[in-house]
């Protein structure tokens, strides 16, 4: 009985592949992914891949768990590109390059950064941050402000 309920819960998701970067675990309001020229809706369970661009509306926010256990959330009115993601589950070697073009982001680094500090980088239009661990926030303002 318990197994049946669990199976139903788990089957709702798309299959996970070793090459996937992560999985959308939280999706509120308008959340979309731009992938290879197309724009797709990104409800909970959507697989996230390298080169995906996460776009949230004014009412949107999204949370992603990556394969190295790093956690990234994107706030309302944001554009976040996953420029590079690679993680070796045996050696824990990898690289994660994210690009916050607009809006807000919060993150907790994972196993990759534990293994090699600054293997995770977050870029904005005006700076680049190396992550040595663990939790941080990033914001990009509109050019008109400030």
């Amino acid at each position: 009985m318990r197994s049946a309920i669990l199976a139903a819960l788990l089957l709702a998701a798309a299959p996970a592949m070793a090459s996937d970067a992560g999985l959308v675990k939280v999706s509120k309001g308008s959340v979309q992914i731009k992938r290879a020229g197309a724009t797709i809706a990104a409800p909970v369970g959507t697989v996230v891949q390298t080169s995906d661009v996460i776009v949230t509306g004014a009412d949107g926010s999204a949370g992603i768990t990556f394969t190295d256990n790093s956690l990234v959330s994107v706030g309302p009115g944001s554009v976040f590109a996953i420029d590079k993601y690679r993680f070796d589950t045996t050696t824990h070697a990898g690289e994660f390059e994210g690009n916050l073009k607009q809006g807000k982001l919060a993150a907790v680094s994972g196993k990759m950064v534990k293994q090699s500090p600054e293997s995770m980088k977050i870029r904005t239009p005006s700076a680049v941050m190396g992550v040595r661990g663990t939790e941080f926030v990033v914001q990009v303002d509109e050019p008109a402000k400030n």
Partner: protein, 198 residues
């Protein structure tokens, strides 16, 4: 080489001029354990290390970089909905097998019940099973052995009703010892499988 470095710097400079968008980077205490982390912010050809709760670097529209001290209230005001969207941290359970057996130790069988309880608490759980070995034998031998152990646990979880596509298996060999030992030491506590629910 020098040419490459110079052209990268020029490109960065050009990008900075074309899009002078202010940004902010801040360290916040880890929500699960309060740990204060470290970030390194590089802007305007300058690197700054931040290692303090709510410590921040702000890049202004003119490209200049200023240090700032935020607080919990300010971060909550600015990042409330963003922080709320962070997925819950993965939870890890460690299980041991009886010697030369596919059967779990009694303690581990109880621990497996906790894994199922955790799965039910999450909206869309997935599982990473990670095998570990003790230090007897070479690196690649142990990589294979630990992967085999993880695969065995994965099969067990599938047998208990968890869909195969939601479970991945990996082997860490002898790279992540629970009990630190010299090389070639028989240590049952290192022969384990971790189940990470996320």
């Amino acid at each position: 080489m020098r040419f490459a470095a110079a052209s990268i710097a020029a490109a960065l400079l050009a990008a900075g001029c074309a899009a002078p968008r202010p940004s902010l980077f801040a360290v916040i205490p880890d929500q699960s354990d309060g740990h204060i982390g470290t970030i390194v912010v590089e802007a305007n050809g300058e690197k700054r290390v931040v290692h303090a709760a709510y410590g921040a670097q702000r890049i202004l529209a003119d490209g200049s970089v200023v240090s700032e001290q935020l607080d919990a209230k300010k971060v909550r005001e600015e990042f409330g909905p963003t922080l709320k969207a962070l997925p819950p941290p993965p939870r890890t359970f460690t299980l041991y097998f009886l010697l030369d057996s596919d059967e779990l130790t009694p303690d581990s069988a109880a621990e497996l019940q906790k894994v199922f309880a955790e799965l039910k608490r999450r909206p869309l759980p997935d599982i990473m099973v990670i095998g570990h070995t003790d230090t007897r034998g070479g690196l690649s031998y142990n990589d294979q052995l630990s992967k085999a152990r993880a695969e065995r646990m994965r099969e067990m979880l599938i047998g208990l009703g968890i869909p195969a596509q939601r479970i991945q298996a990996a082997g860490r060999g002898k790279r992540e010892l629970l009990i630190q030992t010299e090389d070639s030491v028989d240590e049952p506590r290192n022969r384990r499988v971790e189940i990470s629910v996320r």
